[in-house]
């Protein structure tokens, strides 16, 4: 890989064409990530795989038609129209089989995917033997190749991706609603089957636009990996859409730049690998949902549980048998190696016992109340109540026998 070429690609200084391709690819990545969110949330991700493979026969047929009419067989808009037509057929075939036959969707996807891809390969082979219309480069649609793009091609990718982005921006809320609660969406007057069709048509459009850059085999990854990565960063569908778009854009931009910087690396593969790197980083390091954050939260939680349970056992004068609790309390200087609490340990145990007593009273008073709902056996009540409220509670804890028999008992009888 040529570092100088890479740097120039990354700074848009590799020429006007390369910059156009970079912008087009980035916009493609953004739309693919965004529409991928909806497809994923609607659990239709693999349908887009059937769609992308179904583009191949369309490319072949369009080439044969254009070449036999004496034109340039590789005219991109013509090829993309052909791809869209057979991809649309593939989508229709999957839906028809799922609805009208006993086949499940995954079986229908498998059937359509393999049959259409096989058909496409046959067409490509026929084209090679026909020797018409300069077929060289058609196989680029399999794995993508941004470097070989012409200026007009880059501009058409740019425009189409922009259009898709606008449609997504206009209809995202409807698609989220249908993905979350289809029946409810129907009662709001949303035609859910139209919305599903729009979503799959947008996925189809992204697939067709991405044929030249990412290639048909890997385009589905660009619609799945960024949303899955984005899910680690957020709990909101709207943000997930934006983050997935961002990650997809970054992956496509970096991927095209890297593949343009020599060694003839296939663009689609490099883009997908870049996206996978982003996914791995998200999975490991995302706050709150990432693997690392989850592990940290778990060990912190474990510590709190062991500390509190250990101290409660001490306050009842019971021995601590759990080795983790013993280790934890010993490290804090609350427990001697022989299992006898230190002075600090006794004080801490008293505090925890007091907290537990306050909780017990508060919960007995109002078992269905909001306060009782906050009890988890871990949170100190001082974090939930104000000092004033605790002072009142403490007065009652001290005079507990009278209060439970009098007011508390009376209240129970009244209810």
């Amino acid at each position: 890989m040529d570092a100088d070429l890479l740097l120039r690609a990354l700074t848009f200084s590799a020429g006007y064409n390369a910059a156009l391709v970079a912008v087009g690819a980035t916009l493609l990545g953004i739309t693919a990530g965004a529409i991928g969110c909806f497809v994923l949330l609607r659990r239709r991700a693999m349908v887009s795989d059937a769609i992308s493979h179904a583009t191949l026969p369309g490319i072949g047929i369009a080439f044969i038609i254009m070449a036999s009419l004496g034109g340039e067989g590789r005219f991109l808009p013509g090829l993309l129209v052909g791809a869209a037509v057979t991809a649309g057929f593939g989508l229709w075939a999957v839906e028809w089989m799922t609805k009208r036959t006993r086949l499940t969707e995954d079986a229908a996807i498998g059937a359509v995917l393999s049959v259409t891809f096989g058909l496409g390969i046959v067409f490509l082979t026929i084209i090679q033997t026909l020797g018409i219309g300069k077929p060289a480069g058609l196989e680029g649609f399999l794995l993508g190749g941004a470097a070989a793009m012409l200026r007009a091609e880059a501009i058409s990718v740019l425009v189409m991706a922009g259009l898709v982005a606008v449609v997504i921006a206009l209809s995202w809320r409807r698609m989220v609603l249908v993905a979350f609660d289809q029946g409810y969406a129907e009662t709001l007057g949303i035609k859910t089957n139209h919305t599903d069709r729009l979503m799959m048509l947008l996925a189809l459009a992204v697939t067709v636009i991405g044929l030249k850059i990412v290639g048909l085999i890997l385009i589905v990854a660009l619609m799945i990996i960024p949303p899955v990565a984005a899910r680690f960063w957020t709990d909101r569908a709207d943000r997930m859409m934006l983050i997935a778009g961002g990650l997809g854009g970054i992956a496509c931009f970096l991927g095209t730049a890297i593949s343009a910087s020599g060694d003839d690396l296939p663009t689609g593969a490099v883009i997908v690998l870049t996206a996978t790197c982003l996914f791995t980083i998200s999975m490991l390091f995302a706050p709150s949902r990432g693997v690392l954050a989850a592990w940290l939260a778990w060990s912190r939680f474990q510590k709190v549980v062991h500390r509190r349970q250990g101290l409660l056992a001490l306050s009842r004068g019971e021995p601590i048998l759990e080795p983790v609790s013993r280790r934890l309390l010993a490290r804090e200087g609350l427990l001697q190696p022989d299992g006898v609490p230190t002075l600090e340990g006794k004080a801490a145990a008293r505090l925890v016992a007091e907290d537990e007593a306050r909780w017990a009273l508060a919960r007995r008073r109002d078992p269905d109340g909001a306060l009782a709902g906050r009890y988890d056996g871990l949170t100190p009540i001082t974090q939930v109540l104000t000092p004033d409220q605790i002072a009142v509670l403490d007065a009652d804890v001290r005079g507990q026998p009278a209060l439970v028999a009098g007011v508390g008992g009376g209240r129970l009888a009244h209810e």
């Binding site: 949330l41 206009l170 209809s171 995202w172 409807r174 409810y184 009662t187 909101r236």
Partner: protein, 281 residues
């Protein structure tokens, strides 16, 4: 399904009840010609696949009532609602909401689906679910007017869930999920609330809170229709009932409709005496 022969026999036994309620209904609907009823079903038949699930249901939900749909498991209660609301295709029959076809009255009714019907791991916050109720008032690019965002917070407060607005929905208990669904329906500001098993699997505090909200809606002149499964609380919560078991058994005010004969007919004599007594008390 094949072992359900018994219900067919009792179906013919209470023609009196059905006939009398029907007479009462036609009478009342004639009076109220200028003020159409919130929901009327005429001969509604709905199927799941090739099997009709509910047959020829006639039902009128009068203005300002709290009506329950009651019947044994598999009686088609939820199916009836889904068919009436156009979520499932209907084989036959007519549905009118405030005197007009459903499609013309989408702003006047709100549906609360069963809690279990959605994926609670879906990436969305409590407040996002509630603002779904304002969907029909969203602007271009899916933007929600400020008025509706404030309304959504008020609806959350009404069901006792303020302070939960920014929680991820997966972190909610069953009762809290049900409250959020109710808040979403409230945000629609509809006149007719249609609920599928609103009390299934919720805690006692939530059940009380939901009933309180529903009764306050009724007192404000709104109408509530709910699928209900707990016969012991029927009298306390509702004032009208439709007993069904694939077909309508009886419909009308609680006192005259929830008779031993009718309940036995709906449940095919499968209720033990204690539950039956509790129901018709």
């Amino acid at each position: 399904m094949p072992d359900r022969i018994p219900p067919m026999a009792p179906l013919t036994t209470p023609p009196l009840a059905t006939a009398s309620t029907k007479a009462a209904l036609t009478g009342s609907s004639e009076e109220a010609c200028d003020q159409p009823q919130p929901l009327t079903l005429r001969g509604l038949t709905v199927s799941y696949g090739a099997k009709p699930a509910v047959f020829a249901i006639d039902m009128t939900v009068p203005q300002g009532s709290m009506m329950a749909i009651v019947g044994p498991n598999g009686a088609g209660k939820s199916t009836l609602l889904k068919g009436a609301l156009g979520i499932l295709p209907k084989l036959a029959g007519e549905v009118q909401v405030f005197g007009q076809p459903l499609a013309h009255q989408r702003d006047r009714f709100a549906y609360v689906p069963q809690r279990a019907s959605v994926d609670w791991d879906f990436p969305t916050r409590v407040i996002d679910v509630v603002t779904m109720g304002a969907y029909r008032r969203t602007g271009w690019f899916g933007l929600i007017p400020k008025r509706d965002r404030i309304l959504a917070h008020e609806c959350l407060e009404r069901v006792g869930m303020h302070g939960f607005a920014n929680r991820q929905i997966g972190a909610l208990s069953g009762g809290q999920q049900q409250r959020v669904f109710l808040a979403r329906a409230l945000a629609q500001q509809a006149d007719l609330l249609i609920m599928d098993e609103p009390f299934a699997g919720v805690d006692a505090a939530t059940e009380k809170a939901i009933v309180a909200v529903l009764h306050s809606l009724r007192d404000a002149g709104k109408t509530v229709l709910a699928v209900h499964h707990d016969l012991t609380t029927l009298h306390e919560y509702f004032d009208r009932v439709l007993l069904i078991n694939c077909q309508a058994i009886a419909e009308g005010p609680m006192a005259t409709t929830l008779t031993t004969d009718n309940v036995n007919a709906a449940y095919g004599g499968r209720l033990n005496d204690a539950r039956l007594a509790a129901a018709v008390s």
